[in-house]
């Protein structure tokens, strides 16, 4: 019977129970205090009601210590809530290592998801259970917000900037995806489903729809846009070598360093003058306006795949047929 009137969504992620625990704590504490206040008000209003005998209030000043008590005690309680909330927030923000990467694009009014193996989905996201999933996302137009109520996580999706969120699903099933930032006419239609599957089922699903990994499509674009003309495989090129760059600290020509993450790569393509690598001049042309968000994603994925720390996705218990996709070019000698 109670399941007909749920008070909270499915607990389908590793953080969901923690979020619900904090929620329960908040409800109990604030509910108790509120009910206490109501009872006190009710009681006092009746006990001291105005009667012919009680026309004027009694001259009485409660002790000042009472005032101090109900300043200090609430403050301490609030601080406890703050600490718990912040701790939980850190857990939600910090992406675990070896997360599976998914790329998402929000646009009016649909969600596009891309798996590293190149599989693309619209408004549906298939993920394996029990594995951290990191979603890197941007918007093609206005601000959206990717929300998974069952996982208790949401994150605004901005134009021209990558943001990250992560979750780890703890049970299989089908759960809502909602857009949670008003984005125009069909904001309430920008919904979908996340399908959490057993790892073997997930592999089967993956095998169904590969069209060449994101990274290999990116490699094609790398040639098409003539990036390889300057970014050669050795130090003779006019541009910095990109192999092994992803995830490292890059020294710029003004002396500062920057971490080569997705945002850096994206900015380097769209606005190469913003950060110039030490020892190079700013001769790279900008590709702003010349490539779509999809193309950008593929190129970023390709450079990522050339990276030092982040090699191909940790091998899962997967049929070997799948391992053709998503592997980096064999420069570093890593085996697929």
């Amino acid at each position: 019977m109670l399941s007909d009137f749920p008070l909270w969504p499915d607990q389908a992620s590793t953080v969901a129970p923690s979020v619900d625990a904090l929620m329960t704590f908040m409800c109990v504490v604030t509910g108790t205090v509120s009910v206490l206040i109501f009872i006190v008000i009710f009681y006092l209003a009746i006990k001291y009601r105005r009667t012919p005998e009680n026309q004027l209030a009694q001259d009485y000043e409660p002790p000042k210590a009472l005032e101090a008590a109900w300043i200090i005690i609430p403050f301490l309680v609030f601080m406890f809530m703050f600490v718990w909330g912040s701790w939980l927030y850190f857990r939600i923000q910090r992406v675990p290592d070896n997360a599976l990467d998914i790329y998402a694009t929000g646009k009016q009014w649909m969600w596009k998801f891309q798996h590293p193996g190149g599989q693309r989905e619209i408004n549906t996201l298939h993920v394996p259970v029990g594995r951290p999933i990191r979603i890197t996302m941007a918007s093609e137009d206005v601000i959206h917000s990717l929300y998974f109520p069952a996982f208790r996580v949401k994150c605004d999706v901005l134009p021209n900037r990558y943001k990250e969120m992560w979750f780890q699903a703890t049970k299989t099933g089908r759960f809502h995806i909602f857009c949670a930032e008003y984005c125009g006419t069909l904001h309430s239609g920008m919904t979908g489903w996340v399908e959490v599957m057993e790892p073997t089922d997930y592999q089967k699903w993956l095998a169904g729809g590969a069209e060449g990994s994101l990274a290999s499509q990116g490699e094609t674009l790398f040639q098409k846009y003539a990036c390889s003309t300057c970014h050669t495989n050795d130090a003779t090129g006019r541009g910095p070598v990109l192999i092994g760059v992803y995830g490292t600290n890059v020294m710029l020509n003004d002396g500062t360093t920057v971490v080569a993450d997705e945002n850096y790569i994206r900015e380097s393509i769209l606005n190469p003058q913003a950060k110039i690598v030490k020892g190079f001049t700013g001769i790279m042309p900008t590709f702003q306006g010349q490539m779509s968000e999809d193309d950008l994603l593929k190129l970023v994925s390709y450079v990522h795949s050339l990276g030092a720390q982040k090699t191909a996705a940790t091998p899962m218990e997967a049929p070997s047929a799948l391992m053709g996709a998503g592997t980096p070019p064999p420069q570093k000698g890593t085996k697929p």
Binding site: S18, I37, Q55, A57, H187
Partner: protein, 551 residues
């Protein structure tokens, strides 16, 4: 329980004496008045009309939300409705309501002054409000706006095909109405207190209006410049907030919320001021911890400027920023808690009369408490990630704005109605309306907390079917609420002709406003009072009267 009368011959007007209503006649004598009481009445009519307009949008939305599909309105129309509901209710009802109606009317009376410091600027405030309202109405009729009252970019600058420029310009103008009101109040409180009326003898309503006016004065200009930049961007498209051209949509959010968070304190501080007055009057006691309540108003005004980015926890601010704003948000809850505890403590050993204003205020205390504590939920960042941008937030702010501010406004309207009109309202109808409003309100908005936690996002025209039961409950509550609001409209108008005439002090309350006739003469006091007593000095006042009260 019938009402209390205090017959003090000094304050009963001779037959045929003129008050501010009967002082002169003709539309122009009202439209060109400089008298603060008449300007308050002008505002009363205007905001009542706009409240009904804002309410209309809400009613239609709630009817649409009876079913999961979007079958009553098109998506675009629904989006315009929630946008206009927000804009009308916030800028044209809540922000002016208590300050422009009750504050305008009462402040000089409470201070023993003849008028506000700048009467012509007061009239200008009203005209700015009207000009903005007319512009807004024109925009509504010619297509409305669909950006949400928050105008987030780049949707509002690049993508919306509606009258964004017009509405932001109207909001810009009504902002100046608010600024000028605040300026007027601040100077009046500083410079026009009656002899002997020191700061700590002031009624708590004055302290609340003082704190509100500080916020109106300092926060609203930031909204003004933000809207100017938005308007510029809308027309010229240079990329101030457009990421494709190097702009930053988060900059808009920061600037917008820098005003809009303090704005909520503009809406609630006056309500708290009314609560203090009503609790004192209907317990016949000085508010417990008077100076703490006074200082807490100032603390809320100050701290309210420091917490704006708690509206942006998932928007893309850094983790450390988020923590700082979360911490400060908990800080600002403390002064509000102080007030709630102090009002409650005032009841102890008081003489509690449950007349309509007191019923509204007791409801206010309860609902504001619920609304306020749900703010604590939102300030816990880990929890906010799940509930932000859902109906949880919608429920939270409606508890404070409607369950809080509107109920306090109704309380104040009823409490000072005899002073403003010289008539009593019908007590039993008023109590019925208060109860209907309380019940209807809770039925409307409590289910929305649950809807939010279940994951239903805000601003949704159509929703997942499993949310329907709670939505139907909410709409049912809204219908009760609508009846509750319709009743006062009827009986308050009725009372203007048929209500029992009120004497100067029908409640037996302490306050300078109760020492002059109901309605007051044009110049407020025939003789400027010289104040030698503390605020809410009930024992002294009533001893001086030497009267026994008739209950």
């Amino acid at each position: 329980m019938s009402s209390v009368t205090v017959n003090d011959a000094r304050f009963v007007e001779p037959e045929g004496a003129r008050n501010y209503i009967t002082h002169d006649y003709g539309a122009l004598s009202w439209l060109l008045t400089k008298d603060h009481k008449r300007i308050a009445i002008l505002y009363l009519f205007s905001i009542t009309a706009l409240f009904m307009l804002g309410g209309f949008f809400a009613v239609v939305m709630r009817i649409e939300l009876l079913t999961p599909e979007g079958d009553l309105l098109t998506s675009d129309t629904y989006n315009k409705f929630f946008t206009l509901h927000g804009i009308v209710m916030i800028f044209f009802f809540l922000i002016p309501s208590i300050p422009a109606v009750l504050g305008n009317f009462l402040l000089p009376l409470m201070l023993g002054a003849k008028d506000l410091a700048f009467p012509k600027i007061n009239l200008l405030s009203w005209y700015l409000y009207i000009i903005a309202a007319v512009m807004g109405l024109y925009i509504i009729i010619t297509g409305g706006v669909d950006t949400g009252w928050t105008f987030y970019t780049p949707f509002s600058t690049q993508y919306s095909n509606t009258h964004v420029f017009g509405v932001t310009f109207a909001a810009f103008i009504v902002g100046f109405s608010s600024i000028l009101t605040g300026l007027n109040f601040l100077v009046t409180i500083h410079r026009m207190r009656a002899p002997g009326l020191t700061w700590f003898r002031l009624p708590l309503f004055v302290w609340a209006m003082y704190a509100t006016s500080i916020v109106q004065l300092l926060a609203t200009p930031v909204l003004a410049i933000t809207l100017v930049m938005l308007m510029f961007e809308r027309v010229v498209h240079v990329g101030i907030f457009d990421p494709a051209l190097g702009g930053d949509p988060l900059l808009f959010q920061h600037m917008f919320w820098f005003y809009s968070h303090p704005a909520v304190y503009i809406m609630i501080l006056p309500a708290m001021g009314v609560a203090s007055e009503v609790v004192a009057a209907f317990t016949r006691k000085k508010i417990f911890g008077y100076s703490f309540v006074a200082y807490s108003s100032l603390a809320i005004a100050f701290l309210g400027f420091l917490v704006w980015a708690h509206h942006m926890f998932v928007a893309g601010i850094s983790v450390y920023s988020a923590m700082i704003f979360s911490f400060l948000s908990y800080f600002v809850a403390v002064p509000s808690a102080i007030k709630v505890f102090n009002w409650t403590a005032t009841l102890y050993r008081g003489s509690v009369a449950l007349m309509t204003p007191m019923l509204y205020i007791l409801g206010f205390i309860g609902l504001f408490t619920i609304g306020g504590v749900t703010g604590l939920f939102l300030a816990a960042i880990g929890l906010d990630v799940h509930v932000t941008d859902t109906y949880f937030v919608v429920a939270h702010f409606h508890y404070i704005m409607v369950g809080g501010a509107v109920m306090a406004y109704m309380a104040g309207l009823h409490y000072w109605w005899p002073k403003i009109t010289g008539r009593m309202y019908p007590e039993w109808w008023a109590r019925l309306a208060a109860l209907l409003i309380f019940a209807g309100f809770n039925l409307t908005f409590f289910p929305q907390f649950i809807l939010g936690y279940l994951g239903m996002p805000r601003r949704y025209h159509a929703y997942a079917p499993e949310f329907q039961v709670l939505n139907v409950m909410s709409t049912a509550g809204a219908s009760v609420l609508a009846v509750g609001y319709a009743l006062p409209l009827c009986y308050l108008i009725w009372s203007l002709w048929y209500g029992r005439p009120a004497g100067p002090n029908p409640w037996g309350a302490v306050g300078l406003e109760w020492t002059t006739a109901s309605p007051p003469p044009m110049e407020n006091f025939h003789e400027t009072p010289v104040v030698t007593w503390d605020a809410y000095d009930y024992p002294a006042m009533l001893k001086a009267m030497g009267e026994t009260q008739n209950v």
